[in-house]
Subunit: 348 residues, 2 copies
DNA sequence: ATGAAAGCGCTAACAA
DNA sequence: TTGTTAGCGCTTTCAT
């Protein structure tokens, strides 16, 4: 008994039809039988509490209604939210999600991807952002379909990947223009090392937005230091950045953090430096986690339309799996939105 | 091609053996062949880049190396961390994790569980905490093995469930004794409605710990209100509780929050009420999320040994699945630990 | 409109 | 020590 013990044969026997007729019912080929027959089969299924064995179906068809999801770690609230939206979107399409915490380790990601293929899962959403996608190229050639998030979607051999992302540059511009409009001129950029396309895009947009207003970029206000180890979330980075930058002779009056978790770290650093948000310094984040409304003051941030992005990712992936989409890679970019809250106010 | 195209037959042909010999290799029955044969088979596998098809294996054996995980929502940092530890522990045993966000809806949980069974997955870790486990009883009878977290593990028909949990009462006692030792006497208990065994246990322990020190329990300091809707994390609850309780004529000097997210809400409420932590009021949480070290001041809390708990849960589940553990339900309770940080200080 | 039959790739008796 | 065989539950031609 694999799912209650009933098989297609039990149903067939009870309904006085052949197994193939039951299979036809299961697969929606209802035009191939009399209404009365259909009725009998449905009744038999209901009576037995029959549920088809997806493993057997998968073996035969080569398709398992499951997609893989690799994120660095769902313990990070951003990736947790990310995973939840993926799962929501997948569920709406009768798919389930196999969760893999890749810890940003390409070897581990590759191993996971191998394992997905061995399980008959041929669709993967890749949320992490390693330097290259080369470790996925072999898998793609063996039939894995991959949709990436927020990155340069090209691997070795010119293999292209479908992708979804927010308009990182546009979002950053909104944030910087917001701060400029409030009169801030010394705006710090707080990030860890710039090792992903989204960080690069945001950094460039930061410089461009300042330049557009004739504000010179001060390298003293750009923080891209790596922190010891174990700063998965970026909070340590934010904390050291704020602490250090505020000690400078000519400190920033505002911080643009690469993401909300880093911004929360900035909050801690600002307080350690004896300053107050937003009275002394303004802070803007990126992502719009639920936590933004919880912290004090609520964090002004750039919203990523995660729900829509993940819906797009799942749709794209399923279209590939079902063969409805073929040909060159598709790239979806959705607009960002500024969400002003209490952490920003006019420069004094 | 399901995982690269190679089958057991391809390997057999290349190694000049029969498929069953290859199968024997795959299943560790290496004593049934000459070392030289084993060597040849291994070589053939390596040459072909062969990986066994887990779907076919699952169909035959009825066992899929995957466990289901139902949590309310991985977007909540507690459940995110929970999920990550489950996945870690599972990975160590060569299992993967199918993620299900049950949203605390029994119907949805049941549907998920059905779907797991249909996929040949017979092990489930249930992290949510609905009022009853009756919706799982039918599934258990059809072969699903369930390990529950933090709850009264009895369903209808006297069906018992394996379980793991932290010592909720002991942890609460540590928190309350910590506050009492700091001289606090008006200690609020902040929770949403008490609809799970862990909340009940913590509430009772709160009363008992106060009583043990001869401190009368003031019902004015017990907050178990339900908040509108959508307060998955408990932050809204914490905020309203703090705001309201601090307006009372005889306000609390300390808050014990049912979990860290609620404690973060208390932080917000306290600030809205114009008080400062820990100068004016002390706050203790429960769980020990990573965020506790990020907020200002860092949150004193009771640590749940999540990693150990989840390892136990996975071990227990796999032991059941492998038939190594049979008989009555096993219940694992691990000790809690107080983690003092900056949110608590002596009462003034 | 319905059924018979041949597998999907693997495992596990049972033979040899 | 190795091979033969009969399925696991389902899908899918191809017959009828």
């Amino acid at each position: 008994m694999s799912s209650g013990g009933q098989t297609i044969h039990d149903v067939a026997r009870l309904a006085n039809v052949s197994p193939s007729t039951v299979s036809n019912v299961l697969n929606g080929r209802r035009d191939r039988m009399r209404a009365e027959t259909l009725e009998r089969v449905m009744q038999a299924m209901a009576d037995l509490g029959y549920a088809p064995n997806q493993v057997a179906r998968g073996l035969k068809t080569g398709f398992i209604p499951t997609i893989g999801l690799i994120v660095p770690s769902v313990a990070n609230p951003f990736w947790g939210a990310f995973a939840r939206y993926v799962e929501h979107a997948a569920l709406a399409r009768n798919c389930q999600v196999l969760l893999c915490n890749g810890e940003r380790d390409p070897a581990r990601e590759q191993q996971y991807a191998e394992s997905l293929l061995a399980r008959g899962i041929r669709g993967l959403i890749l949320g992490s952002a390693p330097l290259s996608l080369n470790h996925m190229v072999g898998l793609v050639k063996r039939g894995l379909h991959v949709v990436t998030f927020d990155r340069e979607p090209v691997g070795a051999d010119g293999v292209e990947f479908d992708s979804v992302r927010v308009d990182n540059a546009g979002g950053t511009r909104l944030a910087i223009e917001h701060l400029l409009a409030l009169g801030h001129r010394r705006i710090a950029f707080v990030s860890g090392p710039i090792r992903s396309s989204n960080r690069r895009d945001r950094f460039e947009a930061y410089r461009a937005a300042l330049a557009a207003q004739g504000v010179a970029v001060d390298d003293q206000l750009v923080w891209t230091e790596a922190v010891a180890a174990g700063d998965e979330e970026g909070t340590e980075t934010g904390k050291s950045a704020a602490r250090t930058l505020l000690q400078q002779p000519n400190p920033p009056t505002a911080f643009f953090a690469i993401n909300d978790m880093t911004a929360f770290g900035v909050y801690a650093g600002v307080r350690e430096a004896g300053r107050e948000i937003p009275r002394d310094v303004s802070v803007v984040g990126f992502d719009d986690l639920r936590l933004c409304e919880v912290v004090t003051p609520p964090l002004t941030t750039v919203r990523q339309p995660l729900e829509d992005l993940m819906r797009s990712a799942v749709e794209l992936l399923l279209a590939r799996l079902e063969g409805k989409q073929t040909g060159p890679a598709t790239h979806v970019t959705l607009p960002a939105m500024l969400v002003p809250r209490g952490s920003t106010q006019p420069a004094r």
